[in-house]
Symmetry: C2
Subunit: 591 residues, 2 copies
């Protein structure tokens, strides 16, 4: 394979015996710009997580269980496919290399935690560990796409709800309270939020590739190409100095001896080593920006609600189309569903693209929680199957993420049983009240217990935070068995998305986004208020399985969806929505 | 106060400026033998957790929030009462002492973690830290009770289900797998379990005060007075050598250089220092005995079930008495309830005493989860109030722990609402199924959510492990918000005990013990099977608040209680139980 041989030649010249190629970029993102698709260029692997390792005579690709088969198909000819695991990696390296051999990585693409772990394992294995700050792959990659340079524009205060000045000052207060001189801001989404700007450096989130250092007086060094900025006069606070990305390392060196706040989670090894070399005193703690950002401003929440109304209109039109022309969708590929949904979303002027690649999974494909239909190997929708659609949009007002399951024909009793069980899990958490201070970790089993009762479970988290016209996955809060201890707080947004996955048969997931709000009935308690507006698949609901409270939740939700969307829908779509949700047959308020 | 002055004289002779007196013993127990009641002797404090600190001119008593008032009443004249907190302790010491002053403790009564923390805080405060292995209080304590020396007898294999030989060997396997030479066994309950013996060195658990060191070949040095043993010939495995407790430190010294498994959680500073001085390589990890013991043998589980039948008979007789003569209990003190329950329990030949001091709390006293009625300040049962009774027995077959709430008169709607809400929380967890590998921490909110829904919660854990004719609190498993990651496993026993506590008004807790069993319906899943057999307060249940599944659980439970106990009860008690639980009116099986 020519590319492998090119790389081997380069490694030989550098006297490197083994080189690691991750799927990552300098911001430790999983969503890459074309210029950062080093792993794909080298191996042809199209999954979202993987690591290649190349020696003079062998090569391996490390992937997790969900990608094993795909990796073998895509790269099995030239790469041995093994499990993505430190132990496996070093066992493989020991098998290939003599003692004292040199193993290298590009330290700009790995977290400091990863490099620290690998350095120790290399020592144990009798190997020499080397961290580069350049990349042999790039040296070999002819016709490498240009680095992203989308224009960087203002995100209106009307949406952000808080000026950049105020955000800088609030963050500086956290620095002063911790006695720190400066804070390392490693990632584009942090700068985008902090400065109320957006770019489009990757396809699925409005990121301006850049990073920064904030000091305790609220002064920010922002490392981004100045020519990219298309901001109005006074578009940036006076305390922000824009600097070329090339000047980052010298700027770090100028901070010699300072007490620097750094979050190991999001820090590359390359930058971490620079701060170490500058003799900075490192204060290692979670980045305080994350929690400040997660508790959204009222204007951001208004925007999220508006984005969900816009998205709900598109979803209803799509669902109406699917419903009315189900027999025409049958026989079509999963990609036709992706296209139809995209077409309805793109009708709105504020739509800016998908917030992640749309999952449309028919039948057994639904059982793979990370399945993506691709041209040439998308399945066709067939009678008797369920279709799982997990999708989201980026709007000027906010970001959406929703999963619905549709029946391609009158459903079976088993399909209804499983769908209703997932719905019960969803309702259990969505209607949960909890004391202020409760972490997402403690809420995880509230959803799962409804599935556990039937001997079912799912191997992913129950909920994740969502950015405001930013990443669709945004921390620090999570609802998962082994997540952080971060408490859910008023103004946070989270998904709730339990599911069941039966190998070779089907997948069902029901996902809405919710804001965390004060519980009106009980002071000191919090609750969820729904953002997502899209009808559930009533034809898949076995109402006899619902308790009175669950049936009430479902009816109330449908009443809200109908009330919010019907004024915005074409009459025939609105009429369908009313029929579909049975809203006209419900008593006006509760039972 | 004479005792304080005596101690001060002794401290002056030792040139100690401040001395710490905890409520603890050499096994870090909370339940003390009279000879270990150093804190009570010195201060008069009768609470279960506290720490005195005495200087030449001042004295303080540190207690947690639940004991503040009581400590002031009992000791306020001579002791300043402050919060039980490291920061408070050292702030107080800094206020009393000059720089360089000597602060001492008896290292035999503190964990290594505590001493390590305090040593560092003393250094920060400019104080000199000293660890004694003798106790000035003992030097001053005239008429100190003798150390416990109850006879140590065999616990029949019929109850234990596994020979001491087999237990020693299984534990030695864990040592060999970890590459350790020896394991420190610091506590009487560990030796009692390991060797199938029982003593009676404290009132509420059959402990033989002793400790031991096991080596990787399964040889045990057991440190206990040989004359206490009343075991049959061949009552101990050949690999056990009985040694005087005085020979412990020399025995540790003989282990110089060995790799020693030690659990910091249960290790005193005094012993830890001895192993350090012997240059042992310390392998610090949870004691493997705990998990082996927690997964009970079938014979132990049979014993627990039998103990609960015996206890259930006593509980039913007591409840019948209370029910029939409610008007005679009204006006009596809480202590009359304690006495009545004790009388019914003690009728059985295998009863060995309470497993903890009985909580009988009338009205507002119920809102204090750790309230204990005491002569002279027990409340009287009054019309309109609820009575909370949390009690347990030690039986030759096993240990029980149960909480019931009774109405002293026809209950109010509010009382019924609260009781039924707690019952819903109890049922939610008791009927929960969960995948193997799930920790108690993940299950905690399954119970709480029913209370959260009504804006209620409780400030204690949801469940604890229970020993087999041993401690009523036994780890390593727990069901609590911030507990360990230990998975619940088949054969473990746990309490489920949600509650509500309304200050100045009432307390309600419903506690049963359960075994963890395989879920019959779903392979790979676990469930709870109830051990406790005692009717719930149906007069406090608002059935309209129960879902169909909850009502079914309640009826099934009562059917099981009736079926198990009625053959063992006097006809009139059995008839009452049938009426009380409505069993005669239930369809024979389910609905």
């Amino acid at each position: 394979m020519e590319r492998l041989e090119l790389l081997r030649g380069d490694l030989a010249r550098r006297r490197i015996d083994a080189f690691l190629v991750p799927r990552s970029d300098a911001f430790l993102n999983e969503d890459l710009a074309p210029a950062d698709e080093r792993l794909h260029w080298l191996s042809g692997f199209t999954g979202s997580v993987g690591l290649a390792v190349v020696t003079a005579s062998a090569a391996a690709l490390l992937v997790d269980g969900r990608y094993t088969r795909q990796a073998r198909e895509e790269c099995g000819k030239h790469f041995e496919v093994i499990a993505l695991d430190d132990g496996e990696l070093f066992a493989w390296l020991r098998g290939q290399l003599a003692a004292g051999a040199r193993v290298a990585c590009d330290a700009r693409l790995h977290s400091i935690d990863e490099c620290t772990r690998w350095q120790a394992l290399a020592r144990q294995a009798g190997l020499h560990w080397q961290e580069l700050t350049e990349n042999p792959v790039e040296a070999c990659w002819r016709y490498r796409p240009a680095a992203p340079d989308s224009p960087v524009v203002a995100w209106a205060l009307e949406h952000a709800g808080m000026t950049a000045e105020a955000k800088l000052e609030r963050l500086a207060v956290a620095l002063r309270e911790a006695g720190c001189d400066a804070l390392w801001l490693p990632a584009p989404d942090m700068l985008a939020w902090l400065l109320n700007v957006r770019g489009q450096d990757i396809a699925i989130a409005p990121l301006p590739f850049s990073c920064g250092v904030l000091d305790a007086e609220g002064r920010l060094e922002w490392f981004i190409e100045p020519e990219r900025l298309q901001l109005p006069d006074n578009g940036l606070p006076a305390t922000v100095s824009v600097q070329s990305p090339d000047s980052l390392y010298p700027a770090i060196a100028r901070r010699a001896g300072q007490k620097l706040w750094i979050d190991r989670q999001s820090c590359t090894a390359a930058v971490y080593r620079q701060f170490q070399q500058a003799d900075c005193v490192l204060h290692e703690a979670p980045n305080p920006l994350l929690l400040q950002r997660a508790c959204k401003q009222p204007a951001e929440l208004r925007g999220m609600r508006e984005a969900h109304r816009i998205d709900g209109v598109a979803l209803c039109r799509f669902l109406y189309e699917f419903h009315c022309r189900c027999e025409r969708f049958r026989g079509q590929s999963e990609l036709s569903v992706v296209e139809s949904l995209e077409r309805w979303r793109s009708l709105h002027a504020d739509y800016r693209g998908v917030s992640f690649d749309t999952i449309a999974a028919a039948g057994a494909n639904g059982a793979l929680p990370h399945y993506l239909p691709k041209p040439g190997r998308a399945a066709k929708l067939a009678w008797g199957e369920l279709l799982l659609i997990d999708s989201g949009g980026q709007y000027l007002q906010g970001t959406t993420d929703v999963t619905r399951v549709l029946a391609c024909s009158p459903p079976s009793g088993r399909q209804c049983f499983l769908y209703t069980t997932v719905l019960k899990a969803h309702i259990a958490l969505a209607s949960c009240r909890f004391p202020a201070g409760t972490s997402g970790q403690r809420l995880d089993s509230v959803a799962r217990q409804a599935l556990w009762r039937e001997g079912l479970d799912y191997a992913h988290g129950t909920g994740h935070g969502v950015g405001s016209y930013l990443h669709v996955h945004e921390g620090p809060q999570r609802i998962a068995p082994h997540a952080s201890d971060v408490a859910l707080q008023v103004g946070m947004v989270t998904s709730i998305e339990p599911g069941v996955y039966l190998d070779g048969e089907l997948g069902i997931r029901i996902e809405n986004l919710y804001e965390v709000v004060e519980c009106e009935a009980h002071p000191g308690f919090l609750a969820f208020r729904v953002l997502t507006l899209a009808p559930l698949a009533v034809e898949l609901v076995d109402r006899a399985m619902l308790t009175q409270a669950e049936a009430q939740w479902l009816d109330d939700y449908h009443r809200q969806v109908h009330a919010s969307l019907s004024p915005l829908l074409e009459p025939e779509v609105g009429a369908w929505l009313a029929r579909q949700t049975g809203v006209n047959n419900l008593p006006f308020e509760g039972r």
